[in-house]
């Protein structure tokens, strides 16, 4: 371990000043726990990532209890990315993408799946090495598998956010989105946060060498991903595409918009933001139902963006003074 040049610890978070097992394969602790003989199960992989990022100074949070299209929508990412306070957190976020539903018939596509999110603010200078260490921890040997950082600039028009980074390829498959946030909610990041988003199912399929997501071993006792989620995919795909009442959805959209504005007027950024997330999900459902046209799409997305940005603005307004007092070098604008 001491021979690796990557001995820098996570900087600026103070909590992770211990040497890491970076780029060591297999990870030094793996043998002892007897996990090298068989690949990690789905839940084993999550536990391993939790353990790894916990060791590296991250809070281990739980998923946000709302439907959302990506882990980035979690307040631990959007709102906490704003402002000068250091913030290091990791969590699993279920993601809903109604249009990606395939009635449980496609081996690779799901309308509900999991992302593993890590957010590190400010971005540590050894973030790439930390990330590669996490791949090693879940059993990916970079001298057998081809790991590549391929340009992929990330943008979320809905959140008024963008960043530069890569999609990380493992043997040609995108397994992680790696982003240095530059803006969130229309605000410059001060300081910049690094965000890692692992596609858990893909990664697990890779590690377990299965071709069909439903064949994934969920645990080490023979329960498959399909047993847990297949029926869910069939029913939700049917509902998303065929059943969901569109009049009711349009109505919900309007109500979430109104409630968001109501919350903003009361200077409550978190409830306002929740309404923005709800509106965003309803909009995704409307799209799956095929009742939103291209032109409308722009208008609706613009509306959601305004809500999300308004919520971020309110969050900034509410906290700026305290931040400024604690971090004199920082300024909101």
């Amino acid at each position: 371990m001491s021979r690796t040049p990557y001995k820098r610890s996570v900087q600026a978070d103070g909590a992770a000043a211990r040497p890491s097992a970076l780029l060591k394969f297999p990870p030094p602790c793996a043998k002892a726990r007897g996990v090298t003989d068989r690949p990690l199960s789905f839940q084993g992989m999550i536990l391993k990532l939790h353990e790894y990022w916990s060791q590296h100074g991250c809070l281990i949070l739980q998923a946000y209890d709302m439907e959302m299209g990506a882990g980035t929508f979690h307040t631990a990412t959007t709102l906490r990315a704003l402002g000068p306070k250091p913030w290091n957190a990791a969590f699993v976020q279920p993601c809903r993408r109604p249009t990606d539903g395939r009635y449980g018939e496609n081996p690779n596509r799901l309308q509900h799946y999991y992302q593993y999110q890590v957010i590190l603010k400010p971005s540590p200078s050894n973030l790439q090495e930390l990330y590669l260490g996490s791949l090693a921890a879940i059993g990916i040997d970079p001298l057998v598998h081809d790991i590549r950082f391929v340009e992929d600039d990330w943008e979320s028009p809905t959140l008024g956010a963008w960043g530069l980074g890569w999609e990380v390829w493992c043997d040609g498959m995108e397994v992680t989105q790696f982003t240095y946030f530059q803006q969130m909610g229309g605000f410059d990041m001060k300081p910049v946060a690094g965000e890692l988003t692992y596609g858990l199912e893909r990664l697990a399929m890779y590690v377990q060498n299965v071709d069909n997501v439903y064949d994934l071993a969920f645990n080490d006792a023979g329960v498959t991903y399909g047993e847990v989620f297949h029926e869910n995919e069939v029913e939700m795909s049917t509902w998303n595409f065929e059943v969901a009442d569109t009049d009711s959805l349009f109505d919900q959209f309007r109500k979430h918009v109104a409630e968001c504005e109501n919350s903003l007027a009361a200077k409550l950024p978190i409830p306002a933001y929740e309404q923005a997330i709800k509106a965003s999900h309803v909009f995704n459902l409307l799209q799956a139902r095929g009742v939103i046209s291209v032109a409308e799409r722009q208008a609706y997305m613009g509306r959601v963006r305004d809500l999300a940005k308004g919520s971020c603005q309110a969050w900034m307004d509410k906290n700026a003074e305290g931040w400024k007092a604690e971090y004199p070098a920082w300024s909101a604008a």
């Binding site: 340009e151 040609g172 530059q182 046209s293």
Partner: protein, 789 residues
């Protein structure tokens, strides 16, 4: 002389930016050194995903000493002036040099150490680096002033000879240490100097030279294919991209399931290339093979077996998606798909794509029935062309003009009945049929997944369901030409559909008050206009733009009893959410005249842009446009070409000069032609009547004896006017110019010997009348006042 090495190491630099970054590095370095009077010998630059490198050969240890002389006051100047000068230069009186009664300060600047120059240059280069997109990072980014780089900068190696050039940028201190390959050799390595850099890195699994990596990939991929009995489909873009993604490239060949070959080859190639950056291969017969070549960045411990297997799986997943879409799409007739287009809004103000398709179909039929698009003289369609060529490079479309007649897929070509397009009625039906189906693929699964395949997939599906080959080809190619340089369709069915599509888009957006503004052209109307013009001029289509505009507006916004024209937009859309303010009302009142005028201007603007490339002067286009009413593109271009030929001749240049002199005089005198003189006729069609007013009659009627030059000019006009008018009538613009050229000598002689501004009003009026006839005669061809020079 000493060599200098600079390595800027960062997190992965996007492949597409690396070449440009090398150039910028060389440029900035040269400029920084030039400021200090230094000029490096040979410069080498390298880029890998993780480093940007410059090696400068043969730098001196010192810059040259310079002696700078500053002029001061005269010796006779008051003492205050001298004091001021001494203060400014920091010298004493004794140190100044006197020459010719003037004092000079001479400051000898010793040469600077080149090392110092370099130490200052490096931070300057890094800070000024023009990345197309740069970012901030880390703890320092709490302020906006922190360093910006393409990705976080990680290290700097700066060695002048064997010595480190010490500098610091954003907390990164220069040194002699770098790292090798990310996985093969992540440890620190120490560089000695510029001469051992490349080899030391090679020993640590990094090929520094991008050209060498390209070569390794090109050769490796070709060999891998050959070993499998295949031929690699060469692709320069992919070579560069893969070279920019690897420090230690290892091409590996893999196979995919043969069953995927049922999917159109374009789809496979697109998926492999765009999504995965793989090369594809041909078999001995030239058909796409079930093989791909990926480029790994490591020498894998297992020889690459796992890497190939992983990549195969990713490709298989993508291809099985594509295959699923393709098979599903094939089960649905295109008419059925087209019926779903009423769910897709083309633009909120212009209704759905179904509305658009209806207009395009009517317009395409109209273009044929009006005789604008004529049946092809030879039965081009229905003849297959052997196996579909698997294009090199981008792999998009065929490159020759005959492509419009080629059935899109070899496997379906045999199903097609050979029934060539003949006769107008048939052509009109085919054009309308093709138009009605041309957008149907927008709702197919395949195009939903790969939008860049729109058109192409429609062509496949049309052929598969037994449409006429000309219809399938038109569906496939109706988006063409996309931008300048793209093939311009020539098959009549395709031409009718493609032109109708573009004209409808143009008229629609202009009528809805959404023309391009400044740099904003969100609906790509400039491209649409250029495409319409290329289709028209390349195929010699004779029609007036205004007629087409009228035809489209009549469908888009029929005149109501009130006399108003409304475009109703997307009705459902309007009803649902306008009230809540989520969307604006889509209804538009159309001003037909304004739309037509705006489109004509736009037509002229785009034409100038398009013709500039062909070397046609914009002022000549203006000169023809200024006649008004000329919106038949083919005729207009013929006029402009003849005009360009003419003004280039000596006769033309002189006639232009004579015209300008005449026009200036007329303008100065505020001359308005008396009605009976028959002069100042409107240009163009009425030109023929001009000849019926004999000039000599006018002259004698005014009661004075004209001078010979006047008579001669009048006679020349009498001859030239009908000749020019007749030539214009038969659209022989060269002949019209030739007729005008006969005026040149008489005009010159007229100005030589006749004074227009004669005190006698009768003479003056008669002479001005003559000049006015000259102007009018010239205006038959073009408004020469718009011509520059």
């Amino acid at each position: 002389m000493t060599d200098f090495l600079l390595e800027l190491r960062s997190e992965e630099i996007p492949a597409r930016m690396q070449d440009r970054a090398r150039e910028d590095l060389a440029k900035l370095f040269t400029a920084e050194l030039a400021k200090a009077g230094l000029q490096p010998g040979e410069l080498q630059t390298y880029a890998t995903p993780r480093r940007l490198v410059l090696i400068a050969r043969d730098l001196p240890a010192q810059t040259d000493a310079v002696s700078e002389e500053t002029k001061g006051p005269k010796t006779s100047a008051p003492p205050q002036a001298l004091e001021g000068f001494l203060r400014k230069t920091g010298l004493t009186r004794e140190q100044l040099v006197e020459r010719d009664g003037i004092l000079f300060a001479v400051i000898d600047k010793p040469g600077r150490a080149t090392a110092d120059v370099l130490a200052a240059a490096i931070p300057a280069i890094v800070r000024a680096f023009p990345w197309p997109k740069a970012m901030r990072w880390g703890a320092a980014s709490t302020t906006m002033e922190s360093l910006r780089w393409v990705r976080p900068l990680q290290g700097i190696v700066a060695l002048f000879g064997d010595a480190v050039i010490e500098c610091e940028i954003a907390g990164i201190t220069s040194g002699a240490a770098t790292v090798g390959h990310r996985f093969h050799h992540p440890h620190v390595i120490t560089i000695g100097n510029a001469n051992d850099y490349v080899e030391k890195l090679r020993a640590c699994h990094v090929i520094v030279d991008q050209a060498e990596r390209r070569q390794i990939i090109a050769l490796g991929a070709t060999m891998a294919a050959r070993k499998a009995g295949l031929e690699l489909v060469q692709d320069e873009g992919l070579l560069s991209e893969n070279a920019g993604l690897t420090e230690w490239p290892v091409p590996l060949l893999g196979r995919f399931d043969e069953a995927f070959l049922e999917v159109p080859p374009e789809v496979i190639q697109l998926t492999a290339r765009v999504n995965q950056k793989y090369f594809v291969c041909r078999d001995a017969a030239g058909a796409l093979a079930n093989a791909f070549v990926c480029t790994a960045n490591i020498d894998a411990a297992d020889g690459g077996a796992k890497i190939v297997e992983g990549n195969r799986k990713v490709l298989a997943a993508r291809l099985s998606d594509a295959k699923f879409f393709y098979e599903t799409d094939l089960k649905v007739p295109l008419e059925e798909q087209a019926a779903k287009l009423d769910r897709i809004v083309f633009h909120e103000k212009l209704g759905t794509v179904a509305d658009k398709v209806d207009r395009v179909a009517k317009l395409a039929r109209w273009l044929v029935e009006e005789g604008i698009v004529l049946p092809s003289p030879s039965p081009l369609v229905g003849e297959g062309r052997g196996p579909s060529a698997l294009a090199d490079g981008k792999g998009e479309g065929d490159a020759d003009g005959a492509s419009a007649a080629t059935p899109p897929h070899p496997s379906v070509a045999s199903l097609l009945p050979p029934s060539p397009t003949r006769g107008e009625g048939n052509l009109a039906d085919l054009a309308e049929r093709a138009a009605r189906l041309c957008k149907a693929d927008l709702v197919t699964g395949m195009v939903g997944e790969f939008p860049e395949l729109q058109g192409l997939m429609g062509g496949y599906y049309a052929a598969a369901q037994g449409e006429h080959p000309a219809v399938a080809a038109a569906i496939r190619d109706h988006y063409k030409p996309v931008g300048q340089g793209d093939d311009v369709p020539t098959d009549p069915v395709t031409v009718a559909v493609s032109l109708a599509d573009k004209l409808d888009t143009l008229v629609g957006f202009f009528a809805a008050g959404l023309p391009p503004t400044g740099s904003k052209d969100p609906f790509a109307l400039r491209r649409a206009m250029l495409a319409a013009q290329s289709l028209t001029s390349n195929n010699d289509l004779r029609f007036r733009l205004s007629d087409a505009v009228t035809f489209v507006i009549d469908i888009l916004a029929p005149k109501e009893d009130t006399g108003r024209r409304w475009i109703w937009g997307e009705k459902e859309f309007a009803a649902r959410d306008v009230a809540t303010g989520i969307v604006a009302s889509p209804q538009t009142l159309v001003d037909e005249a304004a739309t037509s005028a705006a489109l004509t201007n736009f037509f002229a603007d785009r034409l100038k842009v398009q013709q500039r490339e062909a070397g046609v002067r914009h002022d000549l286009i203006d000169a023809v446009f200024a006649l008004g009413g000329e919106d038949d593109l083919v005729r207009l271009l013929a006029r402009v070409r003849a005009l360009q030929g003419f003004v280039g001749t000596e006769d033309g240049a002189n006639l232009l000069a004579g015209y300008k002199r005449a026009a200036n005089i007329l303008k100065k005198e505020g001359f308005v032609a008396p009605a009976q003189a028959g002069a100042a006729l409107p240009p163009g069609e009425t030109g023929a009547t001009n000849a019926t007013a004999p000039a000599s009659a006018g002259a004698t009627a005014s009661g004075y004896t004209p001078e010979p030059a006047e008579t001669a000019l009048a006679a020349a006009l009498d001859a030239a006017e009908p000749a020019a008018a007749a030539a214009i009538e038969r659209e022989d613009f060269e002949a019209a110019m030739a007729a005008l050229a006969t005026l040149r000598a008489p005009i010159d002689a007229f100005f030589e010997s006749v004074i227009v501004n004669d005190p006698e009003p009768a003479k003056r009026t008669a002479r001005l009348g003559l000049l006015d006839r000259v102007r009018a005669a010239v205006h038959n061809v073009a408004d020469f006042s718009k011509i520059e020079g």
